[in-house]
């Protein structure tokens, strides 16, 4: 395959550790210039997948291609790929400047050019004045940026990021998410990003792949994954699933086929509210209420069996009003087209 638009290609890749199949017959194409996320719970194979691209693991069978070149047997130092590690992996005995310039030093880039490029990249990640510090003197967020700079300065064709924001607090993480996305668009490099945080994945990615037990369950854009989950696992892992099947589904939609409906698509209405033609309804009682500031989450126990989670914005509901809903009988209404049918899990 010499298609220059495919940055990374997995072809029937297998990798197992002892009895565990970490990566199972994986096939995947990542396009040039895109921000691609590998999403999944721990142990799903996403990190192994990343390490296979980097070269820290070798496939037991199958091939891996980088821009058309088969790199399956190449060690990491011969692949045009750089990694931002989860624990940053900064070299403690070197200054920030030496850390960032390490890759350039190995490639024997002349000192003057090396210094210039290091300075430029430090400006890009907003660490301009810290070149002389050592990692031990930096905060978590600063170290994270140094790790990013160290990888970017080498102009790799693909940048790999292994859950880089995991150790940061919420506000910083959200800020860094935006910054990473901006940098990626500025620099134009293909980013392959690993995370277990589905919100993060939905925020940052151009496309993402949902992993489960070494296999990819679905690949698509964030809205595709969220609005049209292909399997129960994807429906459950990305967002709240509200999976309905069997006789409950029969009672609501007239067909026993499994479907999912996203909680924000459901409205809470009076038990006697009329049901328009293009909507479906389910009656029940509010079992639990969680007030979340911007919105309120209701857990509704259905009369026909099972629960549904409903989320409504607190447009003009206060917390007191929201919490009185507990125990109230309600009718849930949503548009028929928001039922996403899901093929049964095999």
């Amino acid at each position: 395959m010499t298609d220059n638009n495919i940055a990374v290609q997995f072809s029937n890749v297998n990798r197992h550790f002892g009895e565990v199949k970490a990566v199972d017959q994986l096939n995947l194409d990542i396009h040039d210039g895109e921000f691609f996320t590998l999403l999944g719970p721990s142990g799903s194979g996403k990190t192994t997948c990343l390490r296979l691209i980097a070269g820290f693991e070798r496939p037991d069978s199958g091939q891996i291609y980088l821009y058309g070149h088969n790199v399956s047997a190449l060690p990491p130092y011969e692949r045009d790929v750089n990694t931002v590690f989860q624990d940053y992996a900064l070299f403690p005995h070197m200054t920030v400047e030496k850390n960032v310039g390490y890759g350039l030093m190995i490639k024997k880039v002349p000192a003057a050019e090396r210094q210039r490029r290091v300075q430029d990249i430090l400006e890009l990640v907003q660490l301009g004045g810290l070149a002389g510090r050592k990692p031990g003197q930096l905060s978590g967020g600063q170290r994270q940026r140094v790790a990013l700079a160290r990888a970017l300065v080498n102009h790799p064709r693909v940048l790999l990021l292994d859950e880089p924001l995991g150790a940061l607090d919420l506000k910083l993480r959200q800020q860094m998410q935006l910054e990473l996305k901006t940098i990626q668009q500025q620099v134009g490099i293909t980013f392959v990003y690993v995370t277990h945080d589905q919100e993060e994945a939905l925020t940052m990615s151009d496309r993402l792949a949902v992993f489960n037990q070494g296999r990819i369950e679905q690949v698509g854009t964030p809205s595709e994954i969220y609005e049209h989950p292909a399997t129960p696992f994807v429906a459950g892992f990305v967002g709240v699933s509200n999976l309905v099947s069997g006789k409950t589904a029969q009672a609501i939609t007239g067909s026993p086929q499994m479907f999912s409906v996203r909680p924000e698509k459901i409205h809470l209405a009076d038990p006697a509210a009329p049901v328009p033609d293009d909507m479906v309804a389910a009656d029940g009682r509010v079992r639990d209420v969680v007030y979340l500031g911007i919105m309120t989450r209701y857990l509704v126990e259905l009369n026909v069996g099972g629960d549904l989670t409903v989320v409504e914005q607190n447009l003009d509901t206060s917390s007191k009003e929201a919490l009185t809903a507990r125990g109230r009988a309600v009718r849930l209404l949503w548009y028929r087209r928001h039922c996403r049918h899901i093929p049964a899990a095999n």
Partner: protein
């Protein structure tokens, strides 16, 4: 488990007494370096003099023993640094069958009484008809010096984590470049600390050495012979203080290099 109430006085007294008990003998030896008596240990010393320093300087057997001890300790340390680091790297990197056994194997020479190592080596020499030599001493010392380096280096490896090596390779450095730029600087102080400990251990060793040296005399063996058939006692005292200095200083340095870490040198020798 710190307590909020003050310590009982008897406890404080006992502690002080024990600590003094541990340290007084050193002061005594230093004092006796200056006694004017040659054959006895009279207290208080009948006279004080510094003439014995010149006498010690002139004693050729002392110089020979010192030279041998230094050469043995240096070489044993080198061997220990090499083998200990290789073993630590292997144990850290890979999971293999018998991994814990390696640590046990390396600690055995220190765990078993010195006399066992000594007579074992002697038995082997007898069986294979190997004569006493400089190298038999080195082999004996290397057996217990390796574990000291091994422990220090392994602890340092464990502290640094493997992602740094991966990061280096990811950035374009092959194995040897990574070794030179990342790994060796990382373990430098561990090597130094381990090496110093090994040196001190070897320099001070007398039990295993007695079995493997034959007629050769390292400094501790020299002291031992003076213990049982003394000649000029103040000379022995001076040599004793010299030995203390040569063994304590490296250990203090090793302690200093590793003191802020979990693998502080010198613990559980």
């Amino acid at each position: 488990m710190p307590s909020k109430s003050p310590a009982p006085f008897s406890l404080k007294l006992t502690t002080l007494a024990v600590i003094l008990f541990l340290h007084c003998p050193f002061l005594i030896i230093v004092l006796y370096m200056f006694t004017s008596e040659e054959r006895a240990f009279t207290f208080p010393p009948p006279g004080l003099t510094v003439e014995w320093f010149a006498v010690t300087w002139a004693r050729s057997d002392v110089w020979r023993a010192l030279g041998l001890s230094l050469r043995v300790a240096s070489l044993a340390t080198l061997v220990a640094l090499l083998l200990g680091t290789l073993a630590a790297a292997a144990v850290y990197r890979a999971k293999f069958f018998g991994r814990d056994a390696v640590s046990l194997l390396l600690v055995l020479p220190i765990a078993l009484p010195g006399i066992v190592t000594g007579i074992a080596l002697r038995s082997a020499m007898g069986l294979l008809e190997i004569p006493f030599s400089f190298w038999t001493i080195i082999i004996g010392h290397a057996t217990f010096c390796v574990v000291v380096v091994y422990n220090n280096v392994l602890a340092r490896f464990r502290r640094s984590g493997r992602s740094q090596i991966e990061a280096s390779m990811d950035l374009g450095a092959n194995g040897f470049q990574t070794l030179r730029h990342i790994i060796l600087p990382e373990i430098a102080t561990a090597l130094l600390a381990g090496g110093m400990l090994a040196f001190a251990l070897s320099f001070d060793e007398v039990i295993v050495t007695t079995f493997t040296a034959g007629q050769q005399q390292t400094l501790p063996i020299w002291i031992f012979s003076e213990l049982t058939r003394p000649r000029q006692r103040p000379v022995t005292n001076i040599v004793a203080v010299l030995v203390i200095a040569i063994t304590t200083v490296p250990i203090l340095l090793a302690y200093y290099f590793t003191k802020d870490t979990s693998e502080t040198a010198g613990m559980g020798k």
